[in-house]
Symmetry: C2
Subunit: 369 residues, 2 copies
């Protein structure tokens, strides 16, 4: 059963909540203390539509941390082992953020807006408080705050067509993980080619909550004959594509290596990122995220606690953190944290779901990759 | 309408979730990314029962930050303008936590367990990340982490009777906001006379999630003939008593003075707390939290955004952040942030609810105080 969620100011409405309610949202999750739509028709129908048309997603729950000032780059580099030295003013970087022991605190996308100005677009943790603490403690010359900026995503194969109509062909020349200015109702916004799906698309960093309903309507008007619908990050499509959910698939107890993000750990940051030295000193990591296919009938309930993974002798070798049935790949697709001795593709394992013991197999790669 | 909440690992179960589901919980909220029960029978029935009997509350969402090490006191004092100099090893302190500008980051209860060891029992924000950032930046000799500790509250006039049966008369000698060790199933736990109601009671800081079901059952067994029920922080009772909800009634944009917590701002901390100097320099604050009675028929839907407060000329003078109908006091009880010129008791105002414009009045004090 799903739970009922009571209303309060503390669990914030987004600037688009009234619109997603009008569009028939069936359930929410809570993300950075804000309502985030989770289902419209059904996970399967939402996934199928996302893959053939275009959807508008209220992802305002990806709250921004604005960091501005002469030490802005220094502060962000303290928090991530990814080397920011060559980052351009129109780039977005996916950055694992770690503490001094290498434990992951978030996996945001950082937008560099200027040499001394960034928006850090958060996964689900109050990273603003970490940046505030670091800035105060190291005496950095920066201002750290949450601006009134709410991302709205346009995702799906018809995203370019929709954006061209709404804002002109020029915008569709944006390369992946690049951003550019966008004017709407006289306000200075930012649009990036990005988003938490593998179907392509854009994210508009809407500047000013008051523009929410008009921006939503503008995109639906432009997409009328493109079968545009309200959607949201999809629990099936994101597993097929190996997009990780911070707080579910990894948390403070995992390093970027364990989260499969080792390519973002750059030794060049060892004197700048507070966690790099610890990460480099840890030696070979003993577990890592892997795609796992789970056999048998469709598993329709997502894990609410990690499902144990065992080898054929029944010994614990890891756990499953996300799982859904994929209509596209005709199997239960899952994300697991798996011990080194068992993480090779093809390894046969068993998983204890709440209902039964199932056969499972480590995949070579995520299905949609 | 209430919303449906989808399940995931990211929105965490508590060690008591299975028990509150068995007990018939009707709705949850999400607190520190954990399920927090919000209603069992109805707000009114839950409030009435709380005032006459005893309830067991799953408040595991009040996650703990453990701070241990020689600089533990120094770190916590950096974050709060309340002077900790005389805090004893068995005391709990309610501490407004502020940044360097005096903006409130949380309003936890800190438990001093030893000279160099604290649990900070959080309201709804990741204060752990702030403490981590400060500790790293200032180079403090502390460890900061979330222990596997989950508070379970016993609240209501029959709390002492229940606790005496479960753990002996000795425990009922605890004074308000003092704590003592408690053994359960061989584990070292802590019990405090505290809790987020005005009905009296205790909070058990359960050490080890595995003890959840047994501790729950033990308390229900002890309270069988005391009319013990599952309950939760009650949206009516807490407004009657003026208990503030961080994230609803105040947030980073408010100072402790504005939140009515000026008595916790001690000038003696100006060289130790990072925010005290700014708070003292700000001069007279221009708005403050006040109890507000709202006339007319019972208001049954809590605010999801702040309701505007106007003077008789229709000019904005503040906003309402929490509201409920009180059966005990036969009025709509509310918490408002009110401009200085209008905050005197007896001032007549108007409030714009989602449905209508109502007359409202500033009260002398919170109803149950």
């Amino acid at each position: 059963m799903n739970h009922l969620l009571t209303k309060s100011i503390r669990v914030r409405q987004s600037p688009f909540t009234s619109k997603v309610e009008e569009a028939g949202v069936k359930a929410f999750t809570v993300y950075n203390r804000m309502l985030l739509p989770a289902v419209f028709e059904s996970l399967a129908d939402d996934a199928a539509h996302l893959k053939r048309a275009v959807q508008i997603w209220d992802v305002a729950g990806e709250r921004q941390v604005e960091i501005i000032g002469p030490d802005a780059t220094r502060l962000i580099q303290m928090s991530t082992p990814r080397d920011l030295a060559r980052m351009k003013d129109d780039q977005c970087y996916y950055i694992p953020v770690v503490d001094h022991e290498g434990g992951m605190l978030n996996d945001p996308v950082a937008l560099r807006l200027a040499e001394d100005r960034y928006w850090v677009s958060l996964a689900d943790s109050d990273l603003l408080l970490y940046y505030k603490g670091l800035a105060l403690g190291f005496g950095l010359d920066v201002k750290v705050f949450e601006p009134d900026v709410s991302p709205l995503a346009i995702q799906g194969p018809k995203s370019d067509a929709l954006i061209a109509r709404a804002f002109g062909e020029e915008v569709t020349k944006l390369r992946f993980f690049r951003h550019m200015p966008l004017q709407f109702e006289g306000a200075d916004m930012v649009i990036a080619r990005s988003g938490w799906s593998l179907q392509g698309g854009f994210e508009i960093y809407m500047n000013g909550s008051e523009h929410g309903p008009a921006l939503w309507d503008c995109l639906f008007e432009a997409g009328k004959d493109l079968d545009v619908r309200a959607g949201c990050p999809n629990g099936v499509e994101r597993i097929e594509g190996g997009l990780l959910s911070y707080g579910s698939d990894m948390d403070q107890s995992h390093t970027p290596f364990e989260a499969g993000l080792g390519k973002y750990v750059h030794a060049s940051t060892k004197d700048h990122c507070l966690g790099t030295a610890a990460l480099l000193a840890q030696g070979a990591h003993k577990r890592e995220i892997r795609p796992v296919a789970i056999e048998g009938a469709p598993l329709l309930a997502a894990p609410v606690t990690r499902w144990p993974l065992m080898n054929k002798a029944g010994e614990p070798v890891g756990s499953i953190s996300s799982c859904a049935y994929s209509e596209s790949f005709k199997t239960n697709v899952a994300i697991g944290m798996v011990a080194r001795a068992y993480w090779d593709a093809g390894t046969a394992l068993q998983v204890q779901t709440p209902d039964d013991l199932r056969d499972a197999k480590i995949e070579e790669k995520f299905w949609a990759r």
